[in-house]
Subunit: 109 residues, 2 copies
DNA sequence: TTATTATTTTCATTATATTGGAAATATGGA
DNA sequence: TCCATATTTCCAATATAATGAAAATAATAA
């Protein structure tokens, strides 16, 4: 990942509304949620939601899928993974470590 | 992790100078780097560096250690881990997945 | 104590981000 | 086609963050 995308990704998540949207989409899984469903859950004006969704899409954290007159948004995990690689690149002065490690199904550990 | 800390952490990294500082500290490992070493590597005024270091410490991404008249800064991985748990909480509608997974020693995979 | 080096604080300037109302656009149903 | 609904764009007001020069503080050595 290139540093400017990393900054965009981090900046996209560094805002309460967007962070909440992203977490809702993470929880929603592949099918995602429509803009309307999000607006309802978050109780924010459409203009505000639209602005924030654009930021998330621009940061490649969220992808949009058209279905009839709805637009469904869902989380893109690959960006998250690239970001983490970028953050931990050449870490710990070469000393082996478990820097960060997360798995969605925590019971499998 | 609480949402406000998550926002602080993400916001702390969502800035070129701070992101670069953090990555340098990740690479430096446990011993970290002094403010002076950082200022030299980054070629930025002391005031600017100090401002950004404060943000990183406040976000709990970086810890400071006094040694004589030097202050050594180092990366705090536990905050990174908490942030990732927070981001991937209840992910993927319950369907098992490897949401994000990073290990500092990538050859061990 | 005085000098020297390391780092932080203050502050004003400039730049960037967030908000939401209103109008515009797009889609599909009747 | 015309209407209702879904979403986005525009815009101006407001809020928040970044920068760096200069002064202040802190620690050690001589």
């Amino acid at each position: 990942m290139e540093i400017n995308l990393a900054i965009r990704v981090l900046g996209a998540l560094a805002q309460e509304t967007r962070l909440t949207i992203f977490r809702l989409l993470v929880q929603a899984g592949e099918s995602g949620l429509s803009a309307g469903q999000l607006a309802k859950q978050l109780d924010i004006p459409n203009a505000t939601l639209s602005f924030h969704l654009k930021e998330l899409v621009h940061a490649e954290l969220v992808v949009a899928r058209h279905e009839g007159r709805f637009i469904y948004y869902s989380a893109d995990f690959s960006t998250m993974n690239s970001l983490l690689s970028f953050l931990t690149e050449n870490c710990c002065a070469g000393i082996p470590c478990n820097s960060v490690e997360i798995d969605c199904d925590e019971t499998r550990r």
